[in-house]
């Protein structure tokens, strides 16, 4: 058995502990930085290796403790999981480097927290067990609570309180639906659930549908789909710049949860329990897109503008995913890759601009001349073009993919809203850019710390990803289509995950199927 998947969870945990231990022992940011960088680079190597293996069509099914599949925890890594893990690790590495400029010394534990969150994210993207998904959600959430309040200050504390309370309610609902699903289906393994959903008795179907609806609410809250998106702008605005950039991956966890649960488990073609999410995701995605665009138009602060752009990107992902077709899912995965780099880059760029403007901060009013103005202005231009979706950048290609994936009967509404919001975004970003770079007063900024900004380089790196995605759009598109096809291929996935039931013996001589409700008549259990 290849131990690569579990390494993706263990290595960040190990690095986090090492960062803590060495940081405490030497009391210098230097040790933490290099330990963190080393651990994350190692993880990057592993994740790229895993991605290249799964791009060849290999699906890892890792059984913890080598227990046969529906028992204990299974990690399942296919193309989508490997892509999300690689995205997370690349982003985390960039964020760690962006924090080297001094953001990581505002508190003692920046590096361990980032590694713990990477551990939770990687686990959540790889697990094939619903309760384990809950546990990894909690790991990534508790790290994100601490990262959000990182740096201190009343605004951050207030945003953290709101974020923690909302997510604890979300966790309670998650647990409730996990319990209901176990009570009705008798299993928590997602592949096993997908197989058992079809044979659920008619008395259980309403309960399963209710549990699925609760799960949709939970994932919608994490993904910030309207009406559960109101927490996002103030939260992301309050966080320290590298943390906001890292949180660009957080909304994707919710979208990923919807993909994993509402396509193979409660997909449209499942008898009885199907069709829980279809009426909601696409329509709410359109509303999310509208709300995000209006928020961007109303924003008076640069970081607030960028936060609303995250809501816009969530809306586009939900629209594309909400069509529940293979083409729609492929376009959504492409958009996830594009928007993770872009929104993280936007936050780092906003951080660099705010840093240069001194005490004026991110307010959109006439200010001093921005240092490094030319580099930042070009960067802003590229970012704005990519957000709006002007050719030749990745934003154009990903939006075109979403538009072309729309079924023809929905085209008037979806195309109308996506194209008109793109125009509104173009207007607003042109306004923001001209205020920041042209509407300047001929004086030096007050309260501006000297020296170059550390987040400029990482921001340039993330923005250049937008160009690279556009250059290699063909291969990436082919890859995302394959990834989407493997998510939809329920039978193969069930067969892969549960295959061990017949060919491997349970440890300790235990027979399989200890629970009456786990077993279905007609299964080849040995008594």
């Amino acid at each position: 058995m290849n131990h690569l998947p579990v390494c993706m969870v263990l290595l960040p945990m190990f690095t986090a502990v090492m960062c803590l231990w060495l940081g405490e022992a030497t009391r210098s940011p230097f040790t933490q930085r290099w330990t963190g960088l080393l651990g994350m680079s190692l993880l990057l190597g592993l994740s790229v290796w895993m991605l290249s293996l799964s791009a060849d069509g290999q699906v890892f099914v890792y059984r913890l403790g080598n227990w046969p599949a529906p028992f204990a925890i299974t990690l399942v890594v296919d193309r989508l999981s490997a892509t999300m893990v690689a995205l997370t690790v690349v982003l985390a590495l960039v964020v760690l480097l962006a924090a080297w400029g001094g953001d990581d010394t505002r508190g003692p534990y920046f590096h361990p927290l980032v590694h713990l969150q990477v551990m939770g994210l990687c686990g959540a993207f790889m697990t094939g067990d619903l309760f384990n998904l809950f546990v990894f959600f909690e790991i990534l959430l508790i790290a994100s609570y601490a990262l959000l309040v990182y740096g201190g200050g009343p605004a951050r504390v207030r945003a953290t309180l709101h974020y923690v309370v909302l997510n604890l309610v979300g966790s309670a609902l998650f647990l409730l639906s996990v319990g209901l699903l176990y009570g009705t289906l008798g299993t928590l393994n997602m592949a096993d659930m997908a197989a058992k959903v079809a044979t659920a008795t008619s008395a259980d179907v309403p309960l399963i549908r209710a549990a699925a609806g609760l799960l949709l609410v939970v994932f919608g809250l994490k993904a910030a789909i309207v009406p559960m998106s109101l927490w996002l702008p103030s939260t992301y605005e309050a966080a320290t710049t590298p943390v906001s950039a890292f949180f660009a991956i957080m909304t994707k966890v919710g979208i990923y949860g919807i993909i994993r649960v509402f396509i193979p488990l409660f997909g449209p073609e499942q008898p009885g329990v199907g069709g829980v999410a279809e009426p909601w995701v696409g329509g709410l995605g359109l509303v999310t897109l509208l709300v995000g665009t209006l928020g961007t138009l109303a924003a008076t602060d640069l970081k607030n503008t960028v936060s609303f752009l995250i809501v816009v990107s969530v809306g586009l992902q939900a629209i594309s995913l909400g069509q529940f077709t293979e083409a729609g899912l492929a376009a959504a995965i492409f958009y996830i890759v594009h928007s993770t780099f872009l929104t993280a880059g936007l936050f780092l760029m906003a951080g660099a601009i705010i840093h240069q403007r001194g005490e004026l901060g991110g307010r959109l009013s006439a200010g001093p001349v921005v240092h490094q103005g030319r580099a930042l202005a070009v960067l802003f231009l590229i970012a704005a073009m990519s957000v709006v979706g002007l050719p030749p950048l990745s934003g154009f290609i990903s939006k075109a993919l979403i538009l072309s994936a729309t079924p023809s009967e929905m085209r008037p509404a979806v195309w109308g809203i996506i194209l008109s919001t793109s125009f509104l975004l173009l207007v607003q970003l042109a306004r923001v850019g001209s205020v920041l770079f042209w509407n300047v007063l001929a004086r030096e900024p007050k309260g501006c710390p000297p020296g170059p900004n550390a987040s400029l380089g990482p921001a340039i790196f993330l923005m250049s990803a937008s160009l690279l995605i556009a250059l290699f759009a063909g291969p990436i598109d082919a890859f995302t289509r394959e990834a989407a096809a493997s998510v939809y291929d329920r039978e193969t996935m069930i067969e892969r995950v549960l295959r061990s039931r017949s060919d491997s013996k349970a440890p300790n001589g235990l027979s399989e199927g200890g629970d009456a409700r786990v077993r279905r008549p007609g299964e080849e259990d040995t008594p």
Partner: protein, 115 residues
Amino acid sequence: MEWMLAASVGVVASCGVYLLLRRRSMSVVFGLALLSYATNLVLFSMGRLTVGAPPILGPEGESAVYADPLPQALVLTAIVIGFAMTAFVVVVALIAHRSLGDDDVDAPVAQEGEP
């Protein structure tokens, strides 16, 4: 028995939601705790209600009465996570009370925090 468990889950959950919707941050914390208790009770009852049954299959096989051990393990995990989260939210609420000077969850931020 069953109606009692169902009713107590309902009462605890509704008290939790009521407290959650209040403005004082400590009420919200208590509301969260009650909500997680209700969730844990639901999770526990998902293994079906049995009295005095062992959590393991005896020699007579699956015809005997037994308690499903898995929901108990899940509840244990959920209690541990819930306990840690409650401790964390108490600390955040205390810090918020200290730095905002008010225990209202929507207390205005007096002066801009450092960028």
